[in-house]
């Protein structure tokens, strides 16, 4: 599989999911991610899979719950308002420990908002958008190739931890085209899931998929089990990219498509002799705290650049823990930061005017 293909982000996710063995997809239309369910509707029947356009997002996420409980490799996708509707289901899925992959191609909010790119669902994705103490792994690709690679990883991680995994993109990543390569062998055999409800002929005794624990002590024990699992995820699954951080006076945090804009601004800054570096979280949860703690020893200041009014900046502040100033620059509503404006912000901070 060495051939490069020019694909739209949404379609590339679909193809990557199918190659990762996903055979079940449940969704409901919303811009800017419609090409993904459309792709699945066309392709899944060709490989013996099922795509259902549900009557609502709520129905779709509960179909995911059912399919995941029966051991299927399953995906759903939506964009911000639709992902809000899925939150109850996500909490149930996390509680019942079911592996699945959820794609959010974030658009401007709050409310119905707009259809242009945004990153203002960071809190919802990383802090538990539904009720109760639960966590999802949240993966934030910055290019279509990385998105394709992360889709494959997302399914594996979901199975490994029996936990929902979210791919957090944005309208730009969904709509744009870039060359992608599907490097890995197609997944044909899924790992055995002894806990799945596949019928008592297939497993000894009853398998129960449930999130209801009416006895407080049993619910607390279940929660403690979940927290131990989340602690393992936090210890093992942190991913980030760091560029030019070693000698940087200013370390910038940015994820997803915004990180590319920051990278362009950083390269322009370097040409002018400004020492700017970038830490790009690839997992938004678990957040790469240590990378920021290390950088705080040498950098003079931090800046978080986001397509939001300032959400990830709080995690940067927690990691830097008051050792150095942490600034913020963001655009909202579907407006995209320009490399020129980001460079100006660098200059203000480094010139002591911020």
């Amino acid at each position: 599989m060495g051939e490069k293909i020019l694909m739209k982000g949404n379609e590339a996710i679909g193809e990557a999911a199918i190659r990762a063995g996903c055979r079940h997809f449940f969704g409901y239309p919303i811009t800017p991610q419609n090409e993904l369910p459309e792709y699945m509707a066309r392709r899944l029947p060709e490989v013996g899979g099922v795509m259902v356009q549900a009557e609502s997002e709520i129905a779709a996420i509960n179909m995911v719950y059912g399919a995941a409980g029966a051991g299927a490799r399953v995906m759903t996708s939506s964009s911000s308002p639709g992902i809000s509707l899925k939150q109850e289901g996500l909490s149930y899925i996390a509680a019942a420990e079911l592996p699945c992959v959820i794609v959010n191609m974030v658009r401007g909010g709050p409310g119905l908002g707009g259809i242009q790119p945004a990153q203002s669902d960071y809190w919802q994705a990383t802090k538990g958008g539904g009720h109760g103490d639960y966590r999802m792994l949240v993966l934030a690709p910055a290019s279509l190739q990385e998105m394709v690679d992360l889709v494959r990883d997302a399914f594996a991680l979901a199975d490994k931890y029996r936990n929902p995994v979210m791919i957090l993109g944005d309208g730009m990543l969904g709509q744009m085209m870039e060359p992608v390569m599907f490097k890995d062998e197609e997944v044909r055999e899924l790992p055995a899931k002894e806990w799945a409800t596949t019928g008592t002929r297939n497993h000894p005794g009853r398998n129960v998929i449930n999130s209801l624990y009416l006895q407080p002590d049993r619910l607390e024990a279940h929660n403690e089990h979940l927290q131990r699992k989340y602690a393992q995820m936090a210890a093992n699954e942190v991913r980030y990219e760091s560029v030019n951080v070693e000698d940087a006076d200013l370390v910038v945090a940015a994820f997803g498509s915004t990180a590319r804009i920051v990278r362009s601004a950083m390269e322009a800054a370097r040409q002018e002799g400004l020492r700017v570096g970038l830490i790009r979280p690839i997992t938004l949860w678990p957040f790469p705290e240590e990378a920021f703690q290390q950088a705080a020893k040498t950098a003079k200041a931090f800046l978080s650049v986001e397509m939001s009014a300032g959400q990830m900046v709080e995690d940067v502040r927690l990691a830097v823990n008051g050792q150095k100033p942490v600034y913020f620059y963001g655009r909202t509503g579907g407006m995209i930061p320009t490399p020129e404006a980001v460079l100006e912000k660098f200059k203000k901070i480094l010139g002591g005017e911020a």
Partner: protein, 180 residues
């Protein structure tokens, strides 16, 4: 050299396809490319546009606010994007449909009577390929063979009888771009 380009026109003029073919050809030559369509409210009446980056190095921002090349297929596109071109950049406009002269004197300007040339070739709908040819005449960032190969990939097989017409349109445009 990083080519940061915006292709704009009204729906049906083939601006999205023009950009996609150029990006595809760049990919075939192992260049780094990105293609980003407008999909927002500006598409509803007025200009559809796409941003294409063709680069030797990785593509940073796929969003370009100061392009070094703009293709304007209609007047609203010229009005919107002429001001954004970097000094020293190139503006290619469709003089068949745009009667006003561009006002900038710090950029290079190429007028292409795209619809007239396309009509002479027998089909108005290849005006986009005339302009893409002119672009390559001026800025040979990819080889014409790669554009031909990209066309074969992107056009569905039942449209392949139109390949030679498209190739002639590209050649006419390229000749114009070369000589101006």
């Amino acid at each position: 050299m990083t080519h940061e380009m915006i292709f704009a026109g009204f729906g049906g003029q083939g601006v999205m396809l023009m950009g996609q073919i150029l990006a595809y050809a760049g990919m075939l030559e192992d260049k780094h490319v990105s293609w980003l369509p407008s999909y927002g409210p500006e598409m509803r009446g007025g200009t559809a546009n796409c941003t294409v980056v063709v680069a030797e190095q990785h593509v940073g921002s796929p969003v370009v606010t100061r392009p070094n090349l703009v293709v304007a297929m209609n007047l609203p596109s010229l009005d919107k994007f002429e001001v954004s071109i970097k000094p020293g950049g190139l503006l290619i406009y469709n003089s068949s449909l745009i009667s006003r002269q561009p006002g900038r004197n710090d950029i290079e300007v190429l007028a292409v009577p795209a619809n007239e040339i396309a009509n002479e070739l027998g089909n108005d709908r290849v005006s986009n390929m005339v302009v893409l040819g002119a672009l390559l005449g001026k800025r040979p960032m990819v080889k014409m063979e790669s554009i031909h190969a990209a066309l074969r990939h992107i056009l569905p097989p039942h449209r392949h009888h139109l390949l030679s017409l498209n190739e002639r349109a590209l050649a006419s445009g390229q000749a114009l771009g070369n000589s101006n």
